[in-house]
């Protein structure tokens, strides 16, 4: 292999052949049986065949950069890394499809020519990628097109995002969904590794306001595309609550560098505040303030809990802190179990929980009813969706503004070197407490909404596993970033909803993904350059690109 790589001229034709094969495979039959959305028909690509074509087109683009008319792009795009990732993804995709066909039809014999050709195509592309040496490329982020064109690119990207989300939500076949998500991850990794994503990053940076506005519009438009159906909006609501909590945890873990394994307790505290102060017949507190007040109280109670757990324990660090927080999460759950009027005061109704929590009602706008806005029905889940969007925008603003301030710098300094930070006059203890209490209050606010959305609160929802999932969302997505954590939360909440058949193996799968991720990309899906360097200490090339980036940023 190493000898062959001295002869990279082979790579271009190989890549071309592979990508053409992959595209052609999409037009052929993949199976004798009409399974997985009927992939048995020729020249009528559906589901898997479409994904193969998408991958093929991207590989073709890279192949043309490697050898052909798009050669001048190779200054900025490294086709070798891109082809490797795309090829390996396509090959894994084909193999997984074979497994799926075997599983669905009872025999490998039912696999048709298309899937085999796709496998060959993927292997050829991968081989081409490894034949070609990696090249150092310039950062394409600086290539500026005319502004109107870039804005169109942004609109297209955001539209594509919405369409993909819609499409993914529509899929009911678990195999198709798994393969779709696999394809999407592969395409994303290809884009980042070949440097194409960097250009997109540059475009969005240049038109940040437009990008944010477009994203916001799309996010607000989402419920209107659901035609009054609840299912997807329910999932979206759960994702948003999970994401808001994960962003709170991100302050603690990602910025201040404190490991917290009992974080779900803060969400739970908020939920219990919301429940006990609701108009439910089971609510144990007589005072019924307006919901916004309840939300603030929820945040406050959680942050007080954060202070209580924080002030004695933050003097320990690292593993010890993790153990203490782990215990705190359990204490919270058991306390909620026992505040049932028998073992303790009557607050939470123990294992029965507080049920029949009525829907929110803002000035006569009942969240439980379907409202018709602009001729489109917005169901109950849609109403909550809008509230949660407002919440998450608030959380994101808090997170980014704190991150880009004196306080955020203090947090990062503590994470980098606590003793040095102390010696420079940083209020280490105060900032740690602030991280704990601030993050907790965000989770608490999310909790109050959760109580109303779920209509019930019980101790069983706040187990250690949930804390572990929160932490996983932060780590998988990318510590210290907003986008990464949002994506991490979306994946971790969305997939289990759709992959119910995997329920028994959910944790096994999750563990596997975690191990693979930590091996392949420990900095998370979306990583700040700072984090990337932390994990790839020896990667001089990366260090150099970062230096170049910074020099250019300094100009």
């Amino acid at each position: 292999m190493s000898k062959l790589s001295h002869n990279p001229r082979l790579a271009g034709p190989l890549a071309l052949a592979g990508s053409v094969l992959l595209i052609v495979s999409g037009l052929l039959s993949w199976s004798y049986e009409p399974i997985l959305g009927d992939i048995s028909v020729r020249f009528w690509p559906v589901t898997l065949q479409v994904y193969a074509i998408v991958m093929g087109v991207i590989a073709l683009l890279l192949a043309l950069v490697a050898a052909g008319p798009l050669g001048r792009w190779s200054q900025h795009i490294d086709p070798a890394r891109g082809l490797r990732t795309m090829g390996v993804t396509a090959a894994i995709f084909a193999v997984t499809t074979l497994v799926a066909i075997t599983h669905q039809t009872g025999g490998l014999i039912n696999a048709n020519e298309g899937v085999w050709i796709a496998l060959v195509g993927g292997l050829l592309i991968a081989a081409a990628g490894y034949l070609r040496p990696e090249t150092k490329v310039l950062d394409p982020a600086e290539i500026a097109l005319p502004a109107w064109l870039e804005i169109i690119v942004i609109a297209l990207l955001v539209g594509l995002g919405l369409y993909t989300a819609q499409y993914a939500l529509k899929q009911t076949d678990p195999w198709v969904l798994v393969l779709l998500v696999g394809m999407l991850i592969g395409v994303t990794l290809t884009a980042t590794r070949s440097n194409m994503a960097s250009w997109v990053g540059g475009v969005t940076m240049r038109h940040q306001r437009v990008f944010l506005l477009a994203t916001f519009v799309v996010v607000l438009a989402f419920p209107f595309t659901q035609g009054g159906s609840e299912a997807n909006l329910n999932i979206a609501g759960n994702v948003l609550i999970f994401a808001a909590t994960a962003l709170g945890l991100n302050i603690v873990v990602g910025l201040a560098g404190l490991l917290d394994l009992g974080y779900i307790a803060f969400l739970g505290a908020g939920a219990y505040v919301g429940a006990t102060m609701s108009y439910s017949a089971f609510a144990t507190i007589g005072w019924k303030p307006p919901f916004l007040v309840v939300m603030l109280i929820g945040g406050l109670v959680s942050s007080i809990l954060g202070l209580i757990i924080g002030s004695p324990t933050l003097r320990v660090s690292g593993d010890y802190l993790a153990i203490v927080t782990l215990a705190f999460g359990e204490i919270f759950r058991l306390a909620m179990f026992n505040l049932d009027g028998q073992s303790g005061p009557m607050i939470t109704r123990g294992s029965n929980g507080i049920n029949a929590i009525p829907d929110l009602n803002f000035f006569g706008f009942n969240f439980g009813q379907t409202h018709n806005i602009l001729g489109i029905d917005i169901p109950r889940a849609g109403n909550y969706y809008f509230v949660l969007i407002a919440l998450i925008v608030f959380v994101i603003i808090v997170f980014t503004h704190l991150n880009n301030s004196r306080i955020g710098r203090g947090w990062v300094a503590i994470r980098e070197d606590e003793r040095a930070a102390e010696a420079m006059g940083v209020n280490v203890f105060g900032l740690k407490i602030l991280a704990f209490a601030g993050g907790a209050s965000l989770a608490g606010m999310a909790g109050t909404v959760k109580a109303h959305m779920d209509q019930a609160v019980s101790p069983d929802s706040y187990i250690f596993l949930e804390s572990a999932f929160l932490l996983a969302a932060v780590v998988l997505g990318g510590m210290g970033t907003v986008g990464g954590v949002l994506i991490g939360a979306a994946i971790l909440k969305f997939l289990p909803e759709k992959l119910r058949f995997l329920d028994d193996y959910r944790l096994l799968m999750f563990g596997l993904v975690l191990v693979v991720m930590m091996r392949v990309r420990p900095e998370g899906l979306i990583a700040s350059k700072r984090r990337q360097l932390e994990f790839h200490d020896d990667d001089e090339e990366l260090a150099e690109t970062v230096v170049i980036d910074e020099l250019e940023a300094a100009k």
Binding site: S405, G410, E416, L434, V546
Partner: protein, 294 residues
């Protein structure tokens, strides 16, 4: 000060300004080990004081006691006549900042951010004003950024403002650490081996920088093993041996004192040739065991 030989006339002669830093009878014991025993030091306005002594003499421990990173077993430290509690934040606020023997920058932050962290104790915007981007936040943030740029320029690093600290050359990292310490607006600057591992040219630059800092009105205390550097730089030199002050005086006196030569250099006849390997070993060796107090 039983064993220490003080020459009061010289100490007075070298410093006419008023005493800024006054450390009285500082003692630091770790169990039975006396790392620093009854050390007293006065630093006057606009003075550069050198702290020398063989490895393990307790120089860095003494620094840690001064800056509140250790709580001295006995003795007290006062700045401008006020006793300061042994807490790092209180010390920095009172006007004393330090650098570290083994560079301790925030390596994944940019040079600019590193210096901005140094401004932390001189700013006070809280979480609320930071979140709503209030007027106080904007004013302080602009001030902090401007001051950080100014300080980077002062130490000659204005071109590297957006480099990650870890990617900077060794000598620049040392200078960045000084800039970070200066950002806390100190009156006394403690430098722990500022030229360790530097080549002669960088050492010369460091010396020029320290003179410049002194001329701006700060008092500087320097720990160093490079004798030529110390004797060219300092107004007064303290030699610590086994945690106690052996000799205190002008560079000339300390240089010629036979006890210093015996204790520090070992042999009486060749000075510089012996010093060189000593410097190399300290520059690349692990930090003294006393440095990590966790």
């Amino acid at each position: 000060m039983s064993t220490a030989t003080v020459t009061p006339s010289d100490a007075e002669a070298s410093g006419e300004g008023k005493v800024i830093l006054d450390a009285r009878n500082v003692t630091m014991r770790f169990g039975g080990l006396v790392a620093v025993g009854d050390v007293s030091m006065e630093v006057r306005e606009g003075e550069i004081v050198g702290l020398i002594g063989p490895n393990g003499a307790g120089k860095t421990t003494f620094f840690n006691c001064l800056t509140g990173m250790y709580k001295p077993t006995e003795g007290q430290v006062s700045l401008f006549g006020t006793t300061i509690p042994p807490k790092p934040r209180a010390v920095v606020k009172a006007g004393m900042a330090r650098t570290f023997q083994n560079i301790r920058l925030f390596s994944n932050m940019t040079a600019l951010e590193n210096v901005m962290v140094g401004r932390f104790c001189r700013t006070s915007s809280g979480a609320f004003t930071s979140i709503i981007r209030g007027p106080k936040f904007r004013r302080e943030e602009a001030e902090t950024t401007a001051r950080a740029h100014e300080l980077l320029k002062y130490v000659g690093l204005e071109a590297s403002a957006h480099l990650l600290a870890r990617n900077m050359p060794y000598g620049d990292q040392r200078r960045l650490e000084i800039a970070r310490a200066l950002a806390t607006d100190p009156k006394v600057l403690l430098l722990d081996e500022p030229t360790a591992g530097m080549n002669p040219k960088e050492t010369e630059q460091a010396m020029a920088l320290i003179f410049k800092i002194r001329d701006s009105g700060l008092a500087v205390v320097v720990i160093e093993h490079d004798m030529r550097f110390i004797f060219n730089l300092c107004d007064r030199v303290l030699c610590l041996v086994r945690g106690e002050v052996l000799v205190e005086g002008t560079p000339g006196e300390v240089q010629s004192d036979h006890r210093v030569i015996e204790a520090y250099i070992g042999a009486a006849d060749d000075e510089d040739e012996e010093v060189e390997p000593l410097e190399v070993t300290t520059a690349f060796s692990e930090p003294d065991h006393e440095e990590e107090g966790r």
